[in-house]
Structures are given as C-alpha cells and as structure tokens.
C-alpha cells in the first residue's frame, strides 16, 4: 500500500495548536457541534479526526479524539461531540466550555477512514448513532456533480437524529440518498415510515440498492456492536472486505 498523502506535514499534524470556541450548536439532547478557531490549521480530509486536550489550571490534562464533522473553512474546524454519561471531557465540552474559551487541538489524524473526492465509484455510508459524524463530513465534502452517495443511518428514535434538517435537504439532492433505520421507535406510518423499529438488518442495506457488483466503497462507523453487525452483513452480501472501511468507538470515547 502506498503511503497516503494527508494534509499537513507530519510535524504540523502532531503539534498541539491553541483553539478557541467560536460557536456551539445543540444538535440533539445529547450531541453538540463545536466550531473552533485553530491557528494555522493545515486542512483535513473528510473522515479524519482530531485530538482535543483540556488543561486544568494546575496542569492536569485530559485528551480525547473527536471526528471532524465538516470540511475546514480556513482556520474554522467543526467537531460534533456526543455527551457520554458521566464523561469527563464530553460533558464539559457540551455543557461548560464557554465561547472564547481555550483548548488545545492536534491533527488531523487518520488516513484510512477517509473519502477522497478523486476516488472513483459510489459511496455507501452506514452510521450507527453518533457514528454519523465523520460520514457527515464526507457528505458535506461531496461536490454537486460527485459520485452517488447513500447514507443508511441507524438511530434509536427520530429525536436522536443529528443534522436532521440538513440531511433531509441533502437527501433531496441529485445523487444523494438518505435513509433512517429506527431501532426503538419509528417515525410512524403516517410519516411514511413503514419499517418496524429494530436493529439494522440485511434488508436495510439491500434496500439501499447497491450490491457488490456496483463496487461501492463502504464506510461504517458507530459503536462496536453496530459496526460488527453492519460490516458482517456487508461482507456476507459479497462486498469485498477491502472496500469495507470501519471506524468503531467504545464507551471510552468520553
């Protein structure tokens, strides 16, 4: 495998950079998007993540990784943080960090779970819960005349959908298809949701319409159990394992 080109030189990517909170958007009851200004940000690819570090006044630090949720705009970068119950860092980021407050950030990190616009072929995105975040960065980076994208987004109930309005708008665009899979409570048949609630099934991915012959690159992101299940369904359906890219997060992502 050739060494992949990733924005920013190595020394640039491993340097801790001062960051400042410009904006916080509440996405759902448990997820917020932080817009940060990061000095001399080298740019990133959709799917990459960053390390974010909080420092207490006595020097204690806590570091966590978060997926970037949008393409960079100059020195503005966005991450979406899912509040982990009792999480040391996520609860502080969602509830306590104030506009203008400082943190440290380094990256971008990760060169495997990325989508490159020049990459050929359709793209199948499979999200479980807040695993949608790096996939959203890919959707947002897709040019209007880009390859076909399809997102299958599994989430407990309609209220838990992150980026709902934007996803619905994206789903009406040419070449983009967005489907929700509700695991606990669906939207109801009145809203055109005829699928009974339940965990992701093979039919949910079959219904998305791309078989192995279409050779989509599949990106699967979510909690470990979800990624195991989804990647197993895709491999069993005959998708080349080399085109199934996964990113898993455990309860450690606090």
């Amino acid at each position: 495998m050739a060494r992949a080109a990733i924005p920013g030189g190595l020394s640039a990517r491993r340097a801790w950079r001062p960051a400042r909170l410009l904006e916080r958007r509440v996405e759902t009851a448990s997820a917020s998007t932080l817009v940060l200004e990061v000095a001399d940000w080298p740019g990133h690819l959709p799917g990459q993540h960053v390390d974010l570090r909080l420092t207490a006044d006595d020097g204690y630090t806590a570091t966590r990784s978060y997926s970037l949720s949008a393409p960079a705009e100059g020195d503005r970068v966005e991450v979406t943080v899912q509040r982990v119950p009792d999480g040391e860092v996520s609860t502080f980021l969602c509830d306590d960090l104030q506009l203008g407050d400082a943190a440290l950030l380094r990256g971008p990190v990760g060169g495997w779970f990325v989508w490159r616009p020049e990459q050929p072929g359709p793209v199948l995105l499979v999200a479980g819960g807040s695993g949608v975040v790096p996939l959203m960065a890919m959707l947002r980076a897709r040019p209007a005349d880009g390859p076909p994208f399809r997102l299958v987004y599994s989430v407990r109930q309609p209220d838990d959908v992150i980026y709902r309005a934007e996803l619905d708008a994206l789903g009406r665009a040419e070449g983009v298809d967005v489907r929700y899979v509700f695991t606990r409570r669906g939207a109801g048949e009145d809203d055109g949701d005829e699928r009974p609630p339940g965990r992701l099934r093979a039919a949910d991915l079959d219904a998305a319409g791309w078989g192995p012959a279409d050779a989509p690159t599949c990106y699967v992101c979510g909690p470990t159990g979800f990624v195991e299940a989804a990647a197993t369904i895709l491999a069993a359906a005959g998708h080349d394992p080399a085109r199934i890219r996964t990113e898993r997060f455990g309860p450690s992502g606090s």
Binding site: M1, A2, R3, A4, I6, L10, S11, R13, R14, W16, P18, D51, L54, T55, A56, D57, Y60, T61, A62, T63, R64, S65, E88, F92, D96, L97, Q98, D101, A102, A103, L104, V109, G110, G111, W112, F113, T224, V227, E228, A231, T232, L234, A235, P241, A242, I244, R245, T246, R248, F249, G250, P251, S252, G253, S254
Partner: protein, 199 residues
C-alpha cells in the same frame, strides 16, 4: 495565549503511576480495527513464521494448543487513549514459538487474517514480553477482539498486538505495517507517547 481551559478541573484517578501520559482508564474493552472481522475456522487456522532466508515454520491450532501456555496479567494501552489495567490472558510466549527458529533478523512484520500488518523490533517479541493469546478473562478470545488468536505485546500501544494473527515475517529492515503507513509510529511506546510518526 493561555492553553488552560477555564473552569476545567477534570477527574483525576489514583492509578499508582500505571497510566501512561495522555491515557485514561476504561472498564470496558473497546475495539479498534479497520474493516470487517474475519472468521477463521479452527481446522483451517494456522500460524506461520517465515525467516529472512525463506524458511517457513507452521503450527496448526492443535499444535499451538499443545505448547506450554502462560497466563499473563497485563495493562494494555490503546493509541486512541484508553487503558485497561490488570487484563488476564492465556497464550503461548513468543519465546516458545521462536525457540527453534534460526534468524538474523532484527524486525518482525506481523500478518493477520484479513490483510492487516504491523511492524515491531524482534526483540520486543522476546524475553517474556509477547504472546500469541487465545483466551481473555477466562474465555475463548472473541472474534471482534482478535480471536481465535491475537498477538499480545502489552508494553507497546495495542495496535501492535495484531488481531487474528496469521504469520510473523522476520525481516532485516523495519517495514511499516498498515497503521504505520497511515502515519502511526513505527515503535509505539505508550510511556513516550509515540502515537504518530515523528512523536
């Protein structure tokens, strides 16, 4: 400009100095891998060791089970910043597996079922520092954690402990593996925070 985050105090835990810099404890066992989980039937499973001269040694599952096993209790540290203390394993020491292998190699490139590779110095596999592990916490090692057998090299970041281990290629020069080609460190010492190339 101050890097201190106003109002952040954090939660310090007393870890007796067992937590490398930048790590935090987890009670769970998160999973990091790049693709689908391979499923390898035990009657098809094998472990191979290939030397720089091209000599190849293989062990079937039954042959691996027949080797003397250790039961190490170790702390493990993932590059994604979680650490887990006092994990218990059962497996065969690489000292046992490599005992009759003649080599002048300084490095190993470990190959997994599914195509994953990772590189490390051969000496880091020796002297009781590494195992081919097939039980975790008293149970068969589950496929998502690398079963039927994975490498266990707890003194390095955990991606070096290749899941679904298939073979060990002994080589004269360090050859970057899967994550290492993607920017992760060739050695990966958690105590020196060698997460990425250049750290």
């Amino acid at each position: 400009m101050s890097f201190v985050t106003r109002g952040f105090h954090g939660r310090r835990r007393d870890d007796d100095g067992r937590l490398p810099p930048g790590q935090h404890l987890t009670g769970d066992f998160p999973v990091l891998s790049a693709g689908p989980t391979p499923r390898i039937p035990l009657d098809e499973w094998e472990l191979w060791v290939a030397t720089e001269e091209g000599t190849r040694h293989t062990w079937s599952w039954a042959e691996l089970m027949a080797l003397a096993a250790d039961e190490p209790t170790v702390d493990i540290h993932c590059v994604t910043s979680w650490s887990k203390l006092d994990t218990t394993w059962r497996g065969v020491s690489l000292d046992t597996i490599l005992a009759d292998v003649e080599t002048a190699a300084d490095y190993a490139l470990v190959h997994s079922y599914g195509g994953y590779t990772t590189n490390l110095p051969l000496e880091d596999l020796l002297d009781g520092k590494a195992w081919v592990a097939y039980e975790f916490e008293g149970d068969d090692l589950h496929p998502e954690h690398g079963g039927p057998a994975r490498l266990l090299v707890p003194h390095l970041y955990f991606w070096k402990s290749a899941k679904w281990v298939h073979g060990i290629e002994l080589v004269l020069e360090d050859t970057p593996g899967f994550w290492e080609q993607l920017g992760y460190h060739d050695y990966g010492d958690p105590w020196r925070e060698q997460r990425y190339q250049g750290d």
